[in-house]
């Protein structure tokens, strides 16, 4: 029978996962401000424009606003502050 040996684990140290909570949802999007966040990937702006048109046709009571972060892959606190200030919900995309 082959001899057993002991080896070390090559993996690094993962951080602890700290549970968070989703935001409370509104009952309806009627009268709500829906921020459409173009995350700047190629053609995301066109996708968001199409999404805006879809809302205009299907949920005209929702108020859509388009917005972009300062750059891709980087948190933009100023943009988030604007969304929080006068937005109710958000859709962000399109991740590649």
């Amino acid at each position: 029978m082959a001899q057993k040996i002991r080896v070390l684990d090559p993996r690094g140290y993962p951080p602890k996962v700290v549970g968070k909570r989703l935001a409370n949802r509104p009952e309806t999007l009627e009268g709500k401000v829906v921020y459409l966040i173009d995350c700047l990937f190629d053609n995301s702006d066109i996708f968001m424009e199409q999404l805006r048109d879809w809302f205009a046709e299907h949920i005209p009571g929702a108020i859509t606003k388009m917005i972009k972060p300062r750059e891709s892959w980087v948190d933009d606190p100023e943009m988030r502050a604007r969304v929080v200030a006068d937005g109710d919900v958000a859709i962000i995309g399109v991740g590649l």
């Binding site: 040996i5 690094g12 968070k20 909570r21 996708f47 879809w54 892959w73 980087v74 590649l96």
Partner: protein
């Protein structure tokens, strides 16, 4: 995710190939019930009507109408699953369960801890021997690494680097180079869809001390130190950042052969110019590893011949202009440029001055559009001037500081390559006073 924490119900939309990654990111971020929605890949290149069809079609991951998922995700009240505490501890043990060599090899492969080439199993004795290559304590914290900007960062210490160095087949005297590369925090296993690689170039006395090859075959598999240092940097990156598994922690569409190993040495003694690290603020007697993010394209040439200027312009303008060029030159080529009256700086300046293309072609690039245009729109130069240029106007595409030259090779041919490579192991502007300069090897001896 940040918007949810700010109190804004949010739907992240991705293409379907990111389904597993989106779930893993949500779990690691403590929001496992994030209400993600997906459209088919690709979005790039699709017409407005095609994108509208995505919106009115089926979410290929959640298998329901895309807009149904969006609307429900924004309005459906939180349920017990959403409110359950998603916190949990994760740990990796110091030792694995003892087993036979064959079983452990299988385990390492099944867990995606190798690069699928044979490895040396990291026994306690081998790791202890490896650790003799540095004066640092095994539990000294080295840094954090992550596969992409938005992924969680994992930490690692000296022992973890030594374990991976054993696996790669490295020798203890290479360990300071491997530690210095890993301590930059720049992963050699970027998860970018563009299939980046990290190329490591070594300067200073340690090249000769450990027998690195900067001569014949300098970029090939002809030297133990070059081969195993690069491999150790790569294995440490994948294992200490939380993986490099296709579809989960690796998303490079084509992949990159440089991800196996990419560590090279400059032929300082045979170069007519100052060593690369000296150009970047280090002393000649310092040993330094410089990390370049690149590996997208390679152009090659020989000379310089009479038409070298036209050749260089063709190469530079054919490059993916988001990824700046790194010239690797045989000493024969460098010396010929000296005869033509060039210094390293003046040759770089010539390249910058002459690498010009029509503005409309410069901006018709996925990564220039995604990553450079926002800065241009914000007024940052020189991008802003490029954006405001007439579409037919010729604009410079690389600033002098974007272009680098390193000399190596065996002088069997006047050969040069132009590689995709942006120097990323630079001192951070806000680095704490007294912090280690990125890439300095001597602090890890």
């Amino acid at each position: 995710m940040a918007l949810e924490l700010d109190g804004i119900p949010t739907i992240p939309v991705s293409t379907h190939v990111f389904g597993r990654l989106a779930k893993a990111t949500a779990v690691a971020g403590g929001l496992p019930t994030t209400r993600s929605c997906f459209v088919p890949q690709p979005v790039v290149g699709r017409t407005p009507s095609e994108l509208r069809a995505y919106i009115e079609g089926i979410d290929p991951v959640n298998k329901r109408p895309f807009m149904q998922g969006v609307i429900e995700g924004l309005t459906r009240p939180l349920d017990d699953e959403d409110l359950k505490d998603a916190s949990f501890e994760r740990d990796t043990p110091r030792y694995l369960e003892p087993d036979t060599e064959d079983n452990l090899r299988t385990l390492f492969m099944e867990q995606h801890w190798t690069d699928y080439l044979p490895i040396i199993l990291p026994t306690e004795e081998r790791v202890e021997a490896m650790l003799k290559g540095t004066s640092k304590a095994p539990d000294m914290f080295v840094g954090y690494m992550r596969p992409a900007n938005f992924r969680e960062a994992w930490g690692f210490d000296v022992e973890k680097v030594a374990i991976n160095a054993v696996m790669a087949g490295a020798r203890p005297d290479y360990l300071p180079v491997i530690l210095a590369a890993c301590a930059t925090g720049i992963s050699a296993r970027s998860s970018s869809t563009t299939s980046w690689a990290s190329l490591a170039f070594v300067n200073g006395p340690i090249r000769k001390e450990i027998g690195m090859n900067d001569g014949i075959g300098a970029m090939g598999p002809h030297n133990h130190a070059n081969a195993t240092i690069g491999r150790a940097y790569s294995l440490t990156s994948q294992n200490c950042q939380g993986g490099s598994v296709p579809g989960e922690t690796y998303m490079g569409s084509l992949g990159n052969n440089y991800n196996y190993t990419a560590c090279f040495a400059e032929a300082e003694e045979r170069s007519p110019w100052s060593p690369f690290h000296v150009d970047h603020g280090f002393k000649a007697e310092d040993s330094v590893v410089s990390i370049f993010l690149g590996g997208w394209y390679t152009h090659s040439g020989f000379g310089p011949r009479e038409s070298w200027q036209e050749k260089f312009v063709r190469m530079l303008t054919a490059a993916d202009h988001f990824s700046s060029p790194l010239f690797v030159m045989d000493p024969i080529v460098a010396n010929e440029f000296v005869k033509l009256g060039f210094t390293k700086d003046s040759l770089i300046q010539w390249c910058s001055d002459n690498a010009r293309m029509k503005a409309k072609y410069y901006w018709d690039d996925q990564w220039i559009t995604t990553l450079v245009k926002p800065h241009a729109e914000a007024g940052v130069e020189p991008m802003a001037s490029r954006l405001h240029a007439d579409p037919e106007a010729l604009i410079s595409i690389f600033a002098p500081e974007d272009i680098k030259i390193i000399v190596m090779g065996g002088e069997t041919q006047g050969a040069f390559k132009m590689l995709s490579g942006r120097l990323v192991s630079r001192p951070r502007p806000n680095a704490p006073r007294g912090s280690m300069p990125p890439g300095l090897i001597d602090v890890w001896r």
